[in-house]
Symmetry: C2
Subunit: 339 residues, 2 copies
């Protein structure tokens, strides 16, 4: 083993509102020892995702809480250094919930081999992992836009939104992305082929939507919730479908602003609003992954990663997610791909 | 023709809030004269429905407005007295939007023959008409409850709700109905076979729902909106489906109470909320009507009508809908079935 100590990032205290880097502590601890049958993994990449904010509540709206003093939960890609299970050879690249730490012990049934055609391996946490599948299921199973329809994606430059928007383009839709910088706006249109983009920080959202969606909105893929969702809803057409994937603007509060009942609008427009999680469509995952791999290989699906070097920067990268500092999938490189 | 004058009910002035009988005027006018190809109909039954409140706004949220001085819009069943169209013989019983009046002129393409197996003919406006189909589509196409799931229906003793709840029973669900009198509550359980009922006027709704839905709510068929919808939503399970059929508690206001965003709950519970109208599922109407007729014939589907005699009582019956004075389908008998 490369080092005699493990470095871990633990929750220091629960955030009060938006998460901050100083909600976490970096601690050193002895290298963990696997029990019989367990696997010892060296973390290579860690994923930081908006949904993790929810796990920092004492009683999360969904998922199990992380308590102060505990290692922060998080998915990663790593290398099997020692294996107590004959099905996982040493040196294998695996994906699992290793937490924010250099070394992790895992039960073999919670560890998944990263296929050799998932390359670079970091994409197992992004376009060819949970975020990619989320975008695929959200468009194909939930929002279900038809060719020619207008689709609006919020958080469109993020790991999930960028996949969702590009799949809607592949499916023949007119696609508008909402994001928070001019550089992201330009990226959506020039590199990802979106039809239009809106910088919600610099443009009045309602008039911007009106101008780029002159025939209204047929499907929404929402990653942000709050005011941007309200604005998109004001423009939906009859029979619109709204896929609720995330609500990054809302995860930090237990007391969101009150709004006109969404039921009222859904009733009037005979529209459908649905929350979902990637696991809800597990039966479609294999087929969806085949699509994603093919599209990445043929460059129909472009992805972008924000890779921060060093486990110690994980809390700051996590904080940055909520301010839109990432551009595409936010990852931490904890250790080199090969040592 | 039976009489030299026509009696009509016209909108006097738009209601300010809840509709009242005195928003309407009864007027007499000359018998209308059909143009070539048109049909002259004697109204027998008129349907009064909650959705009609929406048409009284200057700019209705859906549908075309009724303006002061105009005959009130409304579906009815009548007899063809004179036909300018060879496909509609005189004496035929037909259904159409005849308005609140004794005699109506209609274009033949807007008039539908009432099949001879729809008996009594009043059911063409209820269990074997639009309300019956609405209940069928709302359960089978929108709420889609599985056998064993818990379904809650609001406005459960009404024309649509009573059908929706009974179909959910036919489909093997546990069904709870919410209504506003003890007599309706008893009817739901004793005659319609609901598993439980709640009188929202006399029982605290949250604790009542908790006690009769100990495993939570899997599907909602909502006819009322407002506080009752909010209460039902507080009890939904993961992957719940909410069919928004009507919002009778809200039709009278343009400024509903603000609420926590429904999107928040739908996201957390990965649930689906959908507004619909009977016409959205027109492709299923024939099969659904066959079901409804069979179930009525075999008494698996029980219906109840509140029939008020005399066109002049239509405004009061309409007002009564919003206070729950009807019990089952509210109809007006304008003239005898045969003369």
């Amino acid at each position: 083993m490369a080092s005699a100590v493990n470095t871990q990032i633990v929750l220091k205290h629960r955030p009060d509102g938006m998460p901050r880097a100083d909600n976490f502590d970096i601690v050193e601890s002895p290298i963990p020892r696997p029990n019989a049958g367990e696997v010892f993994v060296r973390t290579i990449y860690l994923s930081v995702d908006p949904y993790m904010r929810g796990l920092l509540w004492e009683r999360p709206p969904r998922g199990k809480p992380v308590h102060p003093g505990e290692v922060m939960i998080g998915e990663g890609v790593g290398e099997v250094v020692f294996s107590g299970d004959p099905r996982l050879r040493e040196g294998a690249i695996v994906r699992g919930n290793f937490g924010w730490q250099k070394y992790a012990i895992a039960k073999p049934e919670t560890v998944h081999r990263v296929d050799s055609d998932i390359t670079p391996m970091s994409t197992a946490l992004g376009v060819l992992g949970m975020p990619g599948l989320t975008g695929h299921h959200g468009i194909r199973q939930v929002a279900r836009p038809l060719a020619g329809e207008t689709v609006v994606v919020s958080g469109a430059a993020g790991a999930v939104g960028s996949v969702a928007g590009q799949i809607a383009k592949i499916d023949g839709c007119r696609v508008v992305g909402i994001c928070g910088t001019d550089a992201k706006c330009a990226h959506l249109v020039r590199e990802l082929g979106f039809d239009a983009s809106i910088n919600y920080r610099s443009q009045p959202i309602d008039s911007a939507l009106e101008s780029v969606c002159p025939s209204g909105i047929d499907a929404i893929f929402d990653n942000v919730g709050g005011d941007i969702l309200e604005a998109m809803l004001r423009h939906i057409n009859l029979h619109a479908r709204i896929a609720l994937c995330g609500a990054i603007s809302q995860y930090h509060t237990l007391e969101p602003d009150l709004v006109l009942p969404h039921s009222r609008l859904l009733h009037r427009r005979r529209a459908c609003m649905q929350g979902f999680l990637v696991h809800d469509y597990a039966e479609h995952a294999t087929a969806a992954m085949t699509d994603l791999k093919n599209w990445v290989k043929t460059s129909r699906l472009i992805y972008r990663e924000s890779i921060t070097n060093g486990l110690e920067h994980t809390p700051a990268a996590f904080e940055g997610l909520f301010h839109g500092t990432n551009f595409g999938k936010q990852l931490i490189r904890v250790s080199p791909e090969s040592v």
